[in-house]
């Protein structure tokens, strides 16, 4: 049955019927879910997030044509693998921002520009997004980042350097920052 299903996803993709392809990746933090549209990576589900819920949300908000198609995510999986080994500092992946809008999207674009090994405060990303007083909204935008890791919201801290929050849990945020060279 495996070969038949592989053939089916290939044909679905060729006929433009594969709206959301997904795959999983075993990371040092647990299983990560990756989902892409033909435009690019649209969602990263962290290990503490329920994969079924993430897929259900994609079915509702993007398209119910959601299929497991690991080959479509080979590049993203390879880059994340290298990132977790400390061998990749900058992702080169097409992104699909359709799950975010407005000020949140601006904040997330600003976060995407934070270089490896650096951090910003919530206030700084709010300012980069065009409204330095919208600190709380910037925090919400970090929390609703659909593409964590690749859009590195773990690099956003409270003014003064305390961790703030993280969708994947604070131990993961701490470990990611450590991986990038913070003590």
């Amino acid at each position: 049955m495996k070969a038949e299903l592989k053939r089916l996803t290939d044909r679905a993709a060729a006929e433009g019927l594969l709206d959301v392809a997904y795959a999983t990746l075993d990371s040092p933090f647990g299983r990560i879910l990756l989902a892409a549209t033909p435009r690019g990576l649209v969602r990263v589900g962290l290990p503490n997030q329920d994969a079924g819920e993430v897929l259900g949300d994609l079915a509702e908000r993007v398209s119910p044509r959601v299929l497991e198609a690991p080959a479509r995510l080979d590049d993203a999986r390879r880059q994340l693998d290298l990132y977790f080994r400390g061998e990749l500092h900058e992702f080169d992946l097409p992104l699909d921002w359709q799950l975010t809008t407005g000020f949140r999207e601006k904040v997330q674009h600003a976060i995407a520009e934070i270089p490896y090994g650096e951090t910003r405060s919530y206030m700084q990303v709010a300012a980069s997004a065009g409204n330095k007083r919208a600190v709380r909204a910037a925090g919400t935008a970090c929390g609703s980042n659909p593409i964590p890791l690749v859009v590195p919201c773990h690099r956003v801290l409270r003014t003064g350097g305390s961790l703030g929050g993280y969708g994947g849990g604070l131990p993961m945020k701490e470990a990611l920052l450590e991986l990038e060279g913070f003590q």
Partner: protein
């Protein structure tokens, strides 16, 4: 209406059944092609589906249509009949052995589908009726006729 589940869930839950039905309906050799056609057609229609209460019946209906298309394209050429592996018990609901599916493949479309859905997929009469788009009584009749022919072939 609730949101449609990710299509992958339909594959995970029903792909094996759809394949079993198609093997019964068109034979092992051609089941794979019909399987692809069935799920591609389902994928095409899926986002516009407005009733998600019986996704399994919906898929089996498409499979049934694809099997019929397949037989039409082949001029209803009967499938080569192999030696049956075992005989269905007289009366009651017989177990169908593997070789019997070759005989099932040679039945007329409605009977073939009814037998395949009953014994291949273990569907109750009401679901067979839904999949065939007929009344439960008509489904029962198709099943009965199909089984009668099979018994005759095997006698």
């Amino acid at each position: 209406m609730t949101a449609l589940p990710p299509f992958q869930a339909l594959l995970d839950e029903h792909a094996a059944d759809v394949m079993a039905v198609l093997r019964g309906a068109v034979g092992r050799g051609d089941a794979e092609d019909c399987f692809q056609e069935t799920f591609l057609a389902a994928l095409r229609a899926y986002p516009k589906l407005d009733d998600d209460r019986n996704l399994r019946g919906w898929l089996l209906t498409i499979a049934h249509r694809k099997a019929i298309d397949h037989h039409r394209a082949n001029g209803r050429r009967p499938l080569p009949v192999a030696e049956p592996a075992e005989l269905p018990a007289p009366g009651g609901e017989p177990e169908l052995g593997d070789g019997v599916w070759e005989l099932v493949g040679a039945l007329p479309p409605k009977q073939r589908a009814a037998v395949a859905l009953r014994y291949g997929s273990d569907l109750p009469h009401a679901e067979i009726a839904a999949a065939l788009g007929c009344s439960p009584a008509a489904a029962r009749r198709s099943l009965h006729e199909g089984m009668k022919k099979l018994r005759k072939e095997l006698a």
